[in-house]
């Protein structure tokens, strides 16, 4: 941090890309448009079908919600690798409770209460787990990347211990009917994601908490000297991230009508990929919600689009994701070089 702030000159050109995000967002919009165009032309009918979009709306909230949390932590200059662990651990906890409150053949009434309790448990426990991360980062001062790597193992481990690794299924029907249902053709999962995204957007742009996050991420020392309570800020941030993971856990429960210790193990790096692709600097202090949302959309469309090509194996997915990321970060550099060249002659 200090090296980056001590000399404005270097700060400028070293992290210039991250400072002015809007170009990055524009780039994402362009990429998105290009993708839509490509798939519409190549897969016309199938691609514009409502069901295709519903399928996406069901799928991406799982990792999208986690990514939102990761974004918050990255704005403070940290990172959260434990989302998947939190999601599964909380899902298992709330599934356990729901199953005991509303065993097979429970009355709708019992099921409803069980569902409400389950939801509360997921959110509450997620927040707690996140706060634990925050505590380790803020008070014990362990680098966030290690804290959350450790807690990823720990939370997943706890989930395994709780279930002996087996899935918990047979959740009350009402649960997957509600959280897995559709409102006017719009998947509930998507609605949940939008709600959470809006809340986070408001937090970042409208509240003093949000403003402080950016300041803290930009220069922790100056933030301290300005009287910000970095401890509680961090703890609250990671708690929020944990909460997002908890909600993601609920969505996964709805999507798989069960909870298990190893669901979504591929999401950990995917969320980081999304957040940086969205233009959030891992150094903290900058980043916009819209960028991350765009990144999520881009990746989801890439994935679903790819599944429309039987002959293209899904193993190309990482290749395309990686290429997209590299492209997005190279463009400003390339254009700069081109401009230089054109100037020369």
């Amino acid at each position: 941090m200090t090296t980056s702030t001590s000399t404005p000159t270097t700060t400028k050109n070293r992290f210039g890309f991250l400072k002015d995000l809007d170009p990055q967002i524009i780039r994402l919009v362009v990429i998105l448009a290009a993708l839509l165009l490509f798939f519409m032309i190549t897969r016309g009918g199938a691609f514009v079908r409502v069901s295709t979009w519903q399928a996406m709306g069901v799928a991406f909230p799982e990792f999208g919600l986690m990514a939102l949390g990761v974004m918050l932590t990255m704005i403070t200059g940290g990172i959260d690798l434990s989302s998947v662990g939190i999601a599964n651990m909380t899902a298992i906890a709330s599934a356990t409770v729901m199953l005991s409150m509303a065993p097979a053949g429970a009355t709708p009434g019992q099921q409803a209460t069980a569902m409400v309790v389950g939801i509360l448990i997921s959110i509450g426990l997620g927040t707690l787990a996140g706060a634990f991360n925050g505590f380790l980062v803020a008070k014990v001062k362990i680098p966030a990347i290690l804290v959350t790597l450790g807690t990823l193992e720990l939370f997943t481990g706890i989930a395994i211990v709780m279930t002996a690794g087996k899935p918990l299924s047979g959740l009350p029907m009402i649960f997957s009917e509600t959280l897995g249902g559709k409102v006017m053709k719009i998947p509930m999962q998507l609605i949940i994601f939008v709600i959470v995204a809006v809340i986070i957007g408001v937090i970042l742009s409208r509240t003093s908490f949000g403003a402080k996050l950016y300041m803290l991420g930009s220069n922790a020392t100056a933030a301290k000297f300005s009287g910000l309570n970095s401890g509680s800020l961090l703890i609250r941030t990671y708690a929020l991230s944990g909460m997002c993971a908890g909600v993601a856990g609920l969505v996964m429960m709805a999507n798989y009508n069960s909870a298990k210790a190893d669901y979504g193990s591929t999401y950990t790096l995917l969320t980081v990929l999304i957040v940086v692709l969205g233009g959030v600097s891992p150094l903290g202090g900058s980043g916009k919600l819209i960028g991350v949302v765009l990144a999520i959309t881009v990746l989801q469309i890439l994935q679903s689009g790819l599944n429309m090509f039987p002959q293209v194996s899904n193993f190309y997915l990482p290749l395309i994701w990686g290429a997209t990321l590299l492209l997005a970060i190279s463009i400003p550099n390339i254009t700069a070089t081109l401009r230089k060249l054109t100037k020369k002659d």
Partner: protein, 503 residues
């Protein structure tokens, strides 16, 4: 007259629109000490970075060095031509030892591929001897005090006998004693025909050593002349383009009731038994050598450190300052020594930086009231005369002077009773400096109690009603600024006299 060692001909440098250097013509001759003066942001550092090959100048101009013509230089070319720079931000390696910091540059420019630790060490030993700088060569530079860091940068520049030595504000963190030592070396180098380009905002220094001046404003050369042609006043007017007045700016009104009472305050290994009283409407100066405990004292009054013993009363109430927030809650504000790392979020906007400490007052139920915020920003940009069209710009697009106003504005926005400033105008040009001093007076007149910690003696004597002198963590004297000259004051601080030899 001999050939100039270095000449710039029509050199310009533009940063994304900003014309930092505008068609500069400049000569420096072997054996001359040449002062480069100008306000913050006038282009001094940029000019230096062009000479040292860090920045590539715009096409068109040319650089003549030792007879060779260049369109641009690389750092290595510059170094190999005998250009050594003491950068404003020191450019040291915090993670490496003093020895390595000193020796590395030379080794690189000699194009060595392998490291010889013995040789590095001998180089380092000689280097520190030159400026008789006492330091543990195995200490990590990151753990050194600001002053020692700067001395490392200086010693490093003096290792290989340079042909041109450039110093960009080399003395911001140094005490007079260290400055003296440095000037001795400078004089010695000069006598051996080495050209020295010197940038500083400290006038008395500048006049003490410089033979020629080049003053730049907005990236243009205003005048190149001899010291005889100038007095402080004219010098300042060239720099600022305004007329300038250096009379005392200490508040004149009668001090009000005590606002901060400190008795028997102590912090282990820093200071002990410190007692004083600060009244509303007065400016209390505190000075002393680095390591005299003045910064620790300030930080203890701001809750960064918790004093081990003694009592602090604010407005008559005893208070316990365990955290910075305790201090702020008691309406104590602190403008730190190092604004870049302790004062500002450089990538964030000017507005953000101004309101950060009063965010909670600007929001209801945690929601920011944008109108209130905008008003606050507008108000402080005006009151602090911050030179910006868009408060939404990043703070690092402001010069030091303006950056300092932002920090000041941030704290005034919290309406403090006690304002502590540690080196309020370090590296700030005299134009902005004067403005800041006047702001302090107005604040005092409005009933604020102000503590100014500084070793810039003219400043100390100009702004304070009373001056406390710290030696080895104890208050040894209380001085009435009106009754002493700058010489006497610095004699008291350093135990030597400003023109006197170094122990």
């Amino acid at each position: 007259m001999t050939e100039p060692f270095l000449s710039l001909r029509g050199v310009s440098k533009t940063f994304s629109g900003v014309k930092a250097l505008d068609n500069i013509d400049f000569d420096i001759y072997p054996g001359e000490v040449h002062c480069l003066a100008g306000e913050n942001g006038s282009g001094k550092s940029t000019m230096i970075k062009v000479i040292s090959g860090v920045y590539e100048p715009d096409a068109g101009g040319e650089i003549v060095m030792d007879g060779t013509h260049y369109a641009k230089l690389t750092p290595i070319e510059a170094i190999n031509n005998g250009v050594q720079v003491i950068y404003q931000d020191f450019s040291v390696f915090p993670n490496l030892t003093v020895a390595e910091n000193l020796a590395l540059t030379g080794e690189v420019s000699n194009g060595r591929k392998l490291v010889n630790w013995k040789r590095m060490r001998t180089i380092a030993e000689e280097a520190v001897k030159k400026v008789n700088f006492k330091v543990d060569l195995d200490a990590r530079v990151g753990d050194l005090s600001v002053a020692d860091k700067q001395l490392v940068a200086i010693s490093r520049a003096l290792i290989t006998e340079p042909k041109l030595l450039i110093m960009d504000e080399p003395t911001t963190a140094l005490t007079h004693r260290e400055v003296e030592a440095l000037f001795k070396v400078v004089a010695d180098l000069q006598s051996r025909g080495i050209a020295i380009l010197f940038v500083s905002h400290k006038l008395e220094e500048v006049f003490e050593i410089s033979e020629r001046f080049t003053i730049i404003r907005n990236g243009k050369v205003v005048i190149t002349t001899m010291p005889e042609e100038l007095n402080h006043k004219k010098f300042a007017e060239y720099m600022t383009g305004r007329d300038y007045d250096d009379s005392s700016s200490a508040p004149t009104g009668e001090p009000g009731e005590p606002i901060l009472e400190v008795s028997g305050l102590g912090l282990s290994e820093a200071f002990e038994d410190v007692s004083f009283t600060l009244h509303r409407g007065e400016v209390l100066g505190i000075t002393g050598l680095l390591g005299s405990g003045r910064t620790e004292l300030a930080l203890s009054l701001f809750g960064v450190f918790t004093a081990d013993e003694g009592e602090i009363k604010v407005g008559g109430r005893p208070v316990r300052l365990k955290r910075i927030r305790d201090a702020i809650a008691n309406k104590i504000a602190y403008v730190p020594e190092d604004r870049l790392t302790e004062g500002l979020m450089l990538e964030r906007s000017i507005a953000d930086n101004i309101v950060i400490s009063e965010l909670d007052d600007l929001s209801k139920l945690g929601f920011l009231d944008r109108k209130l915020r905008a008003e606050a920003v507008k108000r402080w940009v005006q009151e602090m005369k911050i030179a910006t069209k868009r408060p939404a710009n990043a703070v690092n697009t402001l010069s030091g002077g303006n950056q300092q106003r932002v920090v000041l504005g941030k704290w005034l926005a919290t309406e403090p009773d006690v304002l502590i400033l540690n080196g309020p105008t370090v590296g700030v040009d005299i134009g902005s400096k004067r403005d800041i001093h006047l702001i302090l007076r107005d604040l005092a007149d409005q009933g604020m109690g102000i503590i100014v910690i500084t070793d810039d003696i003219p400043e100390l004597l100009q702004v304070s009603n009373r001056v406390l002198l710290l030696k080895e963590g104890r208050i040894t004297e209380e001085v009435d600024p009106a009754s002493v000259t700058e010489q006497e004051m610095s004699a008291m601080i350093t135990g030597g006299s400003i023109s006197g030899e170094v122990a």
